[in-house]
Symmetry: C2
């Protein structure tokens, strides 16, 4: 990073945090992106400098409609990566896309963080290839927060960045998740469980059995195996798993609201009383299940890359995009990456470090 190192203990950046927003990422781009940027700027003020990357001809007129947004710069990128585009090919064939250009700005040190509601796999693959990994990290990971009975969210990771994870990957997910949860959610020494088919130590696959031993010595607050039911029960703060089952559980969870709506619609069709009851109940149900879908929560972090990247659902609202920008700023300010690096170098656990 080209900026002078501050002598203050925590905020490594005392200047504004420079956040690139992929203006063409989401399903309603660039309109939602421009509105989200303006929302974030109103709240963060001089704490942030925003760079919108995308088609200048589309973005600038939208920005001009809004007053008082002098801190938003636009960087032109003519190409747009779609949701169906092959993630691994972007770095070679889509160098004029907003996704690539935005991440390249971060790689060059011209931005501190990158935010996108675009192609999740594309951001992950391109960010990893361009920016590289934090020293000590075997594989970057994407986590997702689940609501729980206790009201305290559970972070499940990995939810799809890597399949066929080796035991060391799972161990690293636990370290990264612990640092993130401690710094960003404010939970001291968060508990970690290994997702498995039973609680006993010998349960599971070859990979989980080996990972169990590593989790006992890598410095995290490991409490043992947990099962599928423990995610919503909030038994632990962090649930570690391979991206294969993590992705399946996440997509299953995201489908529950739609499933229940359909069931209730059938019930409502039985008569007027039923219809009124369902109508009254719908907002309650929606609120209870809302944070199961990460679009509403406002994006998930890609952990382990040299840089800060927040990825949101394609249908992210302006508010969700604004939340993503705020989260990116916070991740930079709290030096999540530096703390991950230290935690992986000294396996006594993140919170025993004098951060």
């Amino acid at each position: 990073m080209p900026d002078a190192v501050s002598s203050a203990p925590l905020p490594t950046h005392s200047r504004p945090v420079r956040v690139v927003l992929d203006a063409m990422g989401g399903d309603h781009a660039p309109s939602n992106e421009v509105q989200g940027a303006i929302l974030a700027l109103k709240e963060l003020g001089s704490n942030v400098e925003l760079i919108l990357v995308g088609r200048e001809g589309d973005v600038t007129p939208l920005l001009a409609k809004h007053q008082g947004s002098p801190s938003i710069r636009v960087v032109h990128a003519p190409d747009v990566v779609g949701m169906g585009d092959e993630p691994s090919s972007i770095v070679k064939t889509r160098r004029e896309s907003s996704l690539y250009v935005g991440l390249e700005l971060m790689r060059q040190g011209l931005a501190d963080a990158f935010v996108s509601a675009g192609n999740t796999g594309g951001v992950m693959a391109t960010a990893t290839m361009l920016c590289g990994r934090i020293p000590g990290v075997s594989r970057p990971t994407i986590g997702s927060f689940f609501p729980t009975k206790t009201g305290r969210p559970t972070l499940l990771l990995d939810v799809g960045a890597n399949v066929d994870s080796k035991p060391k990957f799972l161990s690293d997910y636990a370290v990264m998740g612990s640092v993130y949860t401690e710094l960003m959610i404010g939970i001291s020494r968060p508990t970690v469980g290994l997702l498995n088919v039973g609680e006993e130590e010998g349960k599971g696959t070859e990979v989980t059995r080996e990972a169990y031993g590593m989790l006992q010595t890598n410095g995290v607050n490991f409490v043992g195996n947990v099962e599928g039911r423990d995610i919503l029960a909030g038994t632990v703060d962090i649930v570690v798993c391979d991206g294969f089952e993590g992705n399946i559980v996440l997509k299953f969870a995201e489908s529950i609201l739609g499933f229940l709506k359909d069931r209730f619609r059938a019930y409502a069709d039985r008569g007027l009383v039923q219809k009124l009851l369902i109508g009254a109940f719908r907002p309650v149900l929606k609120s209870a299940l809302r944070d199961m879908d990460y679009q509403e929560y406002g994006g998930v972090p890609l952990l382990g890359i040299n840089g800060v990247a927040i990825i949101g659902h394609g249908s992210s609202s302006p508010l969700a995009l604004s939340n993503m920008i705020k989260r990116a700023v916070e991740m930079v300010r709290k030096d999540v990456n530096g703390t991950i690096q230290k935690a992986l170098a000294t396996p006594t656990g993140p919170s025993k470090e004098p951060v």
Copy 2:
């Protein structure tokens, strides 16, 4: 089997089907078991002969309280396997348990089917070791039905019988699931999906990539990869996966109702209107989610063993146990095992066979 082979086309057994019920299996044993047996007998009449295996001193007095149950025999077994007992050790160290004695009756040809609300892993391990597999089956499997948007259930398998499944295991789960769904649910040429992290053919783990090819040629109606969201959407009739993720998804699904109840309780605490609304809504919710929990559905089959075994939740009600007995009788009558054997021998698919 010692009985004479019938010349009729479908019902291989024209005499009553002999079903062993593990009288000591469930959490409310033997009371629920005895009541379940009597319920089943009332409905099935001379179609069934029931053998209750368990502590004679506990079972016989309960039976005596009910009139008109002459077809129920009691076989004494002094020992009881608990839910926490190690499955693999039962066959060596628990030979006087109701679980072992009951399965041994089936192995000897003295019973056609075995039903238990006891230790799932114990039934599976002991049944596999005692009775062996249907010729051609690489691994027996346990499936579970999920409710879907379409109203037609989806069978997910494996849900925990085997972890680290090889591609051939997944292929066999698909064949067994297809036969079961066709014969027991009445769906002709049921569709099969491979649980994965994306729809494209190359997605997933080494195992899923190899399984994909096998599923295209093993005779089932394979439609490709499906994702976590496709289970409740009812995209396919059968979803095939390793028991590791199948078990995690099943336990996650079973935890949803409890999670929502807790969320709604918090909402109800806000005031009287909210309390009334939640109270009115609770039965609707319960009905919508009920069949997500296999205790209510009435047990799941262990497919692939030489014999018929139905396993239910520990808290199975008398009605659930009665349903399990009825299902066991149906599996025997419809010769599910014989059809599985034929389907595995001739990979042109179960429904092209002149069954």
